[in-house]
Amino acid sequence: MIPHILAAGGGGTNLDAYWSVSFFWVLAVLSVGAALAMIFMRQAVHCALMLAVVMLSLAVMYAMQGAPFLAFVQVIVYTGAVLMLFLFVMMLIGVSSADSLRETIKGQRVWAAIGGVAFMILLIVGIGHASIGSAPTSFSSTGNQANNLTGIAQLIFTTYVYPFEITSALLITAALGAMVLAHRERTEPKLTQRDISRRRVASGQVQPEPPPGVYALHDAVDMPAMLPDGSTTDRSVSRAISQRDPELGRDPQGEVAEDRDAEQRIEAERAIEAAARGETQ
């Protein structure tokens, strides 16, 4: 299978017709399906995985089209670096932020779909009128004398040498821009251990938050902890869990009341502690 695809590397057309047709249709269905799924998936991480499927199938298509160098660059640069950068930033900022289904502009989705289909039809009809011949049997002119890589290198370093040099300026600018934009100036002094402990004592809760499942009916990470007075506290359940599924983080039998007045109790305790401090001083 793989030797069949890579056999197309040299001329691009010495792939067996049976293999090229079957590979094309499998990959076309796969990539279009993954691209559609990327639009419809709500979670951003799922979208990134679907994009990886599209990119990998495109890489195989490059190999079938006589571009083995681009196929490997596609896998290494796009799927390896760019997509990992996407996932990295997603973990930093928005892994729990699913898209809202609320439409802010009325009829936006319908009109976007209509516009997309119309654009697709326009392009397909336009290209369908052009006469696209079948591929020549081999790459001509500066094409693959030795192999694909040599041909591309010869083009880049002769005909396209100025764009290639300008690319270096672009890359340096991009690296500098990323550093400037992602850098955060520290506007306040760094908290010392003494500051942190002072803040914690002043907050009225010296001990850490109760971990989930403590004294609860079920010892699971999505079960809220039970406080000494018998009520449960939602603060013990990670927000990532309760955001993902509103049913989680709740008592399954509904026997334990919600911890609605936790704030008031904390306020009362703080008042008592303040009064005690005031008396001792």
Binding site: V21, A35, V89, I152, L155, Y160
Partner: protein, 99 residues
């Protein structure tokens, strides 16, 4: 397969990416849809290169990849800066320029 099939496939992928840019609200997903459009263009370039029998299209696709990598780096850095200021990656929340 004739190059026309690949070009039609790239048209379909490009249109899907465009619809995604218009529909989605999460800025990261919008970026990914832009990447999908760039990839579709690359596929068309490679198909054209094979159609004409020379390697110029492949070189152009290579340059597109380089520019796309630079674009993603800067775009994601801008996204992180916006997220730091607004605590949101949704494009609906960045509307100060609107009024």
């Amino acid at each position: 397969m004739s190059p026309a099939h690949y070009i039609f496939l790239s048209v379909v992928l490009f249109a899907i990416g465009g619809v995604g840019v218009l529909v989605r609200r999460n800025a990261i997903v919008i970026f990914m849809c832009v990447e999908l459009m760039l990839n579709a263009c690359n596929l068309a370039f490679v198909a054209f290169a094979r159609m004409h029998g020379n390697l110029d299209g492949q070189v152009v696709a290579f340059f597109v990849m380089v520019v796309a990598a630079a674009e993603v780096v800067v775009g994601l850095a801008i996204l992180m800066a916006i997220y730091r200021a607004r605590k949101s990656a949704s494009v609906d929340d960045a509307n100060l320029l609107k009024y």
